[in-house]
């Protein structure tokens, strides 16, 4: 431990702690635009300067030392910070009124905090082309302050290597290699760049107008579904605490917006488990293409198709939950209600930007004869629509979801958290193999925010080795171990592997709120504390649920008896499963 003084407060922290982090322990918030807990300090923005024994240093990358005396704020430091910020703003457009990030922008907030009240330094604005090529994530390099978070996240955290810096100085630009459009790079549309961007330089592709247009057309029957992770994050946009589960209010808001039916992707998650557990039991028994990888995360599927095409047979063929709901909405629901499927539109509210791409990633996404899911909007876009509709969200009364695609189990809910899909699948797989229910429904070894979590589960004397990969950046290690074992003819390290591209799972997806509320931990957007709180919101719902098992969802049973038939076969296979293909890293 190291003892030091920060603004006359005695502080004791572990050796190696940065001055910036040490100061936060005594409620001192040193301003910064580039440092984020998920990235290494880069000393990029120059806002976090402090005085160490009279010398001015950047606190993000200066570790504490015994006996240090630090001043974090005085007239001189304030003046320097303001000048640094004015330099940053001198090549940032004054577009706040029209910017999608307005009100949730760290740069805007910083300008307010530092009291910037003038354009003192002559503006040099370099026009750089907007990149909307993915139709999932939008790059607007002219709004970039070159903090480096997105590049670090894309290259080092996610190991995707789509984003990079091109050129230098004023010409510096966040873009793909050789200025390739993002859609032509290895980008998997996970949106972690957008989740970490402090400004409006990287945002979701806005599809809200498409939804309003559908709702306006009275010939259409527009239905909606919400993903598990949406319910524990949307509230942040309306002043609720992190992780507060607002399922009932969200249903009510969606009805007021004008959706004909409100379904739940958690129902789809239960349906996915029926198919996926059936598939796993079959494949495990026949030792067919093991280990089996989960396939609910479209960013992960995209990554696999690009980086590990030789392992594609290992992916589960199950579609993701919202795609399953889309497919049954335009077949089963249409048939049950007598509505012409051609007139049904399915909108999915997702914590995810990659889901926007998923809806058209393969021809099997049209298994109903139409595009199964028409539009995907993110949690942030739903918040925008609720505001546009003039709904007083906080005053809404809870409502329930609509039959026949609204009922769900606790297992469906935890799909939004790392380890949740594996847990849900094991509950049902255990039942399918043994005919008995698991005594204990949780697996502690695969909970939490560690990058790679592994366990061995005993099912009727058979050992099933599982792994949960939390964040696609950890896939390489697991995949290397698997492929080496295969090449050497050794026993496989795992039989069943869950992968979620975003660290923490969907609760920390690229489409989740980035709210500026002063009772919340900084920096805004996402960090491990927020990941824990949102996860808790979903885990609590599971623990309190009357039914925590997908195979006991009555609506799911009815769907199979009335319509699908047997899991994994015939109509169920045709509607609920997909195929994969190799994709080039660059087009």
């Amino acid at each position: 431990m190291v003892k030091l003084k920060i603004d006359n407060f005695d502080v004791e922290v572990e050796a190696g702690t940065s001055i910036l982090d040490a100061a936060r322990k005594v409620q001192i918030d040193i301003p910064t635009l580039c440092k984020h807990p998920d990235v290494d300090p880069s000393a990029g923005c120059g806002m976090c300067i402090v005085k160490v024994g009279g010398r001015i240093m950047r606190s993000c990358c200066t570790p504490v030392a015994e006996g240090m005396e630090i001043i974090t704020n005085d007239g001189e430091l304030q003046e320097i910070r303001k000048t640094v910020l004015e330099l940053v703003l001198s090549n940032h457009p004054n577009d706040c009124l029209k910017c999608i990030r307005s009100g949730q922008c760290e740069l805007q907030e910083m300008a307010m905090q530092m009291g910037v009240d003038r354009d003192e330094i002559r503006k040099i604005l370099v026009q750089k082309e907007k990149d909307e090529s993915t139709e999932a994530i939008v790059l607007e390099p002219s709004k970039c302050i070159v903090c480096g978070r997105c590049v670090d996240i894309c290259q080092n955290q996610q190991n995707v290597w789509a984003l990079s810096y091109l050129n230098r100085g004023f010409a510096t630009k966040i873009t793909g290699a050789n200025d390739a459009k993002l859609a032509n790079t290895p980008c998997i549309k996970c949106g972690q760049c957008a989740a970490h961007c402090p400004t409006g330089a990287i945002t979701e592709y806005d599809d809200t107008q498409k939804v309003w247009n559908m709702l306006k057309d009275k010939d259409l029957v527009t239905v909606v579904q919400i993903a598990p992770a949406v319910r524990v994050a949307l509230g942040e946009e309306f002043g609720y605490d992190f992780g507060e589960n607002l399922t009932g209010k969200i249903y009510a808001a969606l009805r007021r917006i004008g959706f004909a039916k409100v379904f739940d992707t958690n129902f789809g998650a239960d349906l996915t488990i029926i198919e996926e557990a059936t598939e796993f039991v079959k494949r495990f028994g026949k030792k067919d293409n093991l280990p089996m990888f989960t396939s609910c995360c479209p960013a992960w599927v995209d990554y696999m198709e690009k980086y590990y095409p030789e392992n594609l047979p290992n992916l589960s063929s199950c579609k993701s939950p919202h795609q399953m709901v889309g497919a049954v909405a335009k077949t089963y629901y249409a048939q049950k209600t007598g509505i012409d499927a051609e007139k049904i539109r399915v909108v999915s509210v997702m914590p995810c930007t990659a889901k926007k791409w998923e809806t058209h990633r393969h021809e099997t996404m049209r298994s109903s004869g139409y595009q199964d899911v028409d539009v995907v909007i993110t949690t942030r876009e739903l918040a925008k629509m609720i505001r546009q509709a003039g709904i007083n969200f906080r005053a809404l009364q809870d409502e329930a979801a609509d039959d026949p695609l609204g009922e769900y189990s606790g297992a469906g809910t935890i799909f939004g958290v790392t380890g949740g899909v594996m847990t849900a699948a094991l509950r049902t797989a255990y039942f399918y193999i043994t005919g008995k229910e698991l005594g204990k429904l949780n697996f502690e070894a695969i909970e939490g925010l560690k990058g790679i979590k592994a366990a061995e589960i005993d099912i009727n004397g058979t050992k099933v080795r599982i792994a949960v990969v939390n964040g696609v950046g950890n896939v390489e290690e697991v995949m290397t171990a698997i492929n080496e074992a295969k090449a050497n003819g050794e026993e496989l390290p795992y039989h069943f592997v869950e992968v979620m591209a975003c660290p923490g799972g969907c609760i920390a997806g690229g489409g989740q709120p980035k709210v500026m509320m002063h009772n919340l931990p900084k920096p805004w957007g996402i960090n491990d504390e927020i990941r824990r709180l949102r996860s808790k919101g979903l885990n609590d719902e599971d623990e309190e649920a009357v039914n925590r098992l997908s195979h006991h969802n009555e609506s799911i049973k009815r769907l199979y008896t009335e319509f699908l038939g047997k899991a994994g076969e015939g109509k169920a296979h045709e509607l609920l499963h997909t195929k994969y293909r190799q994709r080039d890293l660059y087009k």
């Binding site: 290259q155 290597w161 789509a162 984003l163 990079s164 810096y165 091109l166 050129n167 230098r168 793909g176 290699a177 050789n178 790079t185 890293l585 660059y586």
Partner: protein, 157 residues
Amino acid sequence: MSEVSQAAQIANKWRKKRGSLIMALHEIQDVKGYVDWQDAVDVSQGMGVPLARIYEVLTFYNFFKLEAPGKAVISVCTGTACYLKGNDKVLEKFKSELGVNEGESTPDKMFHLQSVRCVGCCGLAPVCVVNGKTYGRMTPEAVPGILAEWRKTFEEE
């Protein structure tokens, strides 16, 4: 099976040495005069370095050319002495005569325009160098003559 490219051979040579990406790129530019997309792809595969990283290096350093330069490489000195004596106006004249920016080549690949910092003969400032031939006491008015001279040289070849 196509022949192994020069870039691939160079990448293979540097493959096992850590931190040698820039050395490999230098060598390719020495041999070919530029590093294009296919070269970068060969280096990426040969050395196991993502293309995103390769282009960060290629575009950070002014030295690297991403495509074949024009036959006559025009270097306009913008070092202190040349700049003060008006070489910025000479540079502008080259740009407007050729219709290219700094670091670009004409579509017919005859000329490549670049600015450099000091060519070591400040006494002749302002100075331009074309394929090793030095032009001292430059003026914007002299630009069309120099271009005509090199066009003629290439036509005669």
